[in-house]
């Protein structure tokens, strides 16, 4: 099978769906790049991270739409277009910027269907990069998928590898509900086997990236490779760790998580989104209710501290959950009582 990077896998999904469906349009800042520049009609960026590279050349300015720096108009326009017959993919370059345009997701796109009594369809995808690790500092390093997951009416995707990224994005584009697709900037360079051609991965189906009996680790996005690495290392010690990657936080594969915990009785949840009111806490609450009688140890969460993301590399490294902290949490739940 061909190898592709996470970035290329996402690009491939976008291209395939635009070829398949003329109503799919890409909207954002510098998704082409170069509009109105002195170099003339070029594709200057294809997205600041190159995720949309080549799309403008293939599909032109009518379907790959560069915009002013106006996120509320970007997301709102995409939502309005989605309600009226297009399948827009709006980019919020860094998901941290949702603060300037949240209403169009939170009070608008997410609620149309319910508020309007089931009449509206809003096949909207909002995609963007998230996460710490590149010293992008406090306003360009956040992973706010906890915020999106809290909003009824939104679906939220947090792919952890190239294969999932492609299949989940194609599902997102074909989905008739608004989807927030969260790309972790630390993963863009990660490569893996990605088939040519279109394929879909259903939402709400967790992927067991490692199977094991002693402890369950539920991890999201860039935390999955870290959890996998710890699992592989501990296996040598005879500790068998099951790593569950839910892949979508809404819908969430509750059964997939609860089954694993039922078997291991011990769980660690690794989540970059927040130290308070994050996805880790949402999953911990689920387990503390539905799997309580299976639990043999406290439910441990591994998250960043309750601080903004610091700029300086040593601080940022200490901020982001790492293999050492994941391993320590696993040992803690294994040795408890």
């Amino acid at each position: 099978m061909p190898k592709r990077s996470y970035r290329a896998a996402i690009n491939d999904a976008l291209r395939l769906e635009m070829e398949r469906d003329p109503t799919v349009v890409v909207i954002g800042e510098d998704v082409r790049g170069g509009a109105g520049g002195s170099a003339g009609e070029v594709e200057a960026y294809g997205g600041v991270m190159g995720v949309t590279k080549g799309l403008w050349r293939q599909f032109g300015s009518a379907r790959v739409i560069d915009t002013p720096i106006s996120e509320s108009a970007i997301v709102g326009m995409a939502a309005g277009a989605a309600m009226t017959g297009l399948r827009p993919i709006a980019e919020i370059m860094f998901l941290d910027f949702f603060g300037v345009c949240y209403d169009m997701l939170y009070n608008q796109a997410a609620k149309f269907r319910y508020m309007f009594g089931g009449k509206a369809r809003t096949p909207l995808v909002v995609r963007g990069m998230m996460g710490a690790g590149l010293s992008a500092a406090a306003q360009h390093s956040q992973a706010p998928y906890n915020a999106f997951t809290a909003v009824a009416g939104l679906k939220v995707v947090v792919p952890s590898n190239p294969y999932d990224a492609k299949g989940l994005l194609i599902s997102a584009i074909r989905d008739d509900d608004p989807v927030v697709f969260c790309e972790h900037k630390l993963l863009y360079g990660l490569t893996g086997e990605v088939p040519d051609g279109a394929y879909t991965i259903p939402f709400g189906e967790a992927h067991y990236t490692r199977e094991g009996e002693d402890v369950t680790v539920v991890a999201f996005s860039a935390m999955v490779p870290r959890a996998n690495a710890v699992a592989d290392r501990l296996r040598a010690e005879g500790i068998s760790v099951e790593v569950v990657d839910p892949r979508t936080t809404q819908p969430l594969d509750e059964e997939g998580i609860l089954e694993s915990v039922a078997q291991t009785g011990r769980v660690v949840i690794v989540d970059e989104s927040a130290a308070r009111v994050g996805i880790a806490h949402d999953v911990a609450a689920l387990i503390a209710d539905k799997a309580f009688h299976d639990l043999r140890a406290p439910v441990k969460t591994v998250t960043p501290p309750h601080t903004p993301v610091p700029f300086s590399p040593p601080l940022e490294r200490a901020w982001l959950p790492d293999e050492a902290r994941i391993e320590a949490a696993i040992r803690a739940v294994l040795t408890d009582r």
């Binding site: 106006s70 108009a73 709102g76 326009m77 309007f116 009594g117 008739d176």
Partner: protein
Amino acid sequence: MPDGMVRPTAIAGSLDAPALERAYRRMVLIRAFEERLHAENTTGDIPGFVHLYAGQEAIAVGVCEHLTDRDHIGSTHRGHGHCIAKGCDLTGMMAEIFGRATGLCGGKGGSMHIADLERGMLGANAIVGGAAPLATGAALTHKTRGSGGVAVAFIGDGGSNQGMVFEAMNMAVVLELPAIFVFENNGYGEGTGADYAVGARSIAERAAGFGMPAVRVDGTDFFAVYAAAGAAVARARGGGGPSTIEAVALRYYGHYEGDPMAYRATDEVATLRARSDPLAKLRAALLALPTGAAAGAARLDAIERECAAEVDAAVRAARAAPFPALETLERDVYVAL
């Protein structure tokens, strides 16, 4: 007529007597609907907030008479007039306002969220200014599809100061979208005067600075609104891009039903009703038409009776309708989960 307004250009024959009569019927129907709600509201049977459109009828009708079901409008929290002008089902509207299962939104939306997508009515919106980015999106759909359709955003004078409205105006100019921004200047945003909250000399002048045609018209003069809207719609359909219309027409009731209106001179509304009632003005114009060309007073009185009867039937139907069944509570959040 307030200063600096363009005087109605001669209505290029586009309005024959039947068309004028139809417009009059729509305006009368809106007035009857709102006056009746004003009365019904005192019974305490209408849940939540109700914002009445009485006094502004010529704006919604003057604009929407240029539109067909394929065209879209985005509305405000004061949306009943827009709904009726765009042809929404009156019975469904009334039932929705009463929170009944037979409402246009099955009782889930209420007065502030009435929508009728088949009629191109994208929803009343309780977020001030919310219609602007959404209608811009509908305009993008029309442009992308080459449908020749247009999208209109209705925004209040208060809403004209909301950031996303400015973003949407610039976006529409940059992308040359068939969008029309109709600012309904009814003098107040809640209890705050438009002259205070809008720092510019006028909303139209500020919009003109964005690089689109912008006119200010007397919103109580059907012909003035109709002429301005005709020019804007023709321009949009012809690929000429967006326009702005500021239409000035003070409301007859409080911001919401129950508003003591302490911010208004005691005789303000009485004077408005006496001197600049949009219905009276249009009625006078109709009666001034060469006899035979149009309906006489008797016919117009009949229209008024018919509208009152239609509204009365809608109220009876709404009151007789059941409340939504509890099984619907968790339905229609997603198209599919």
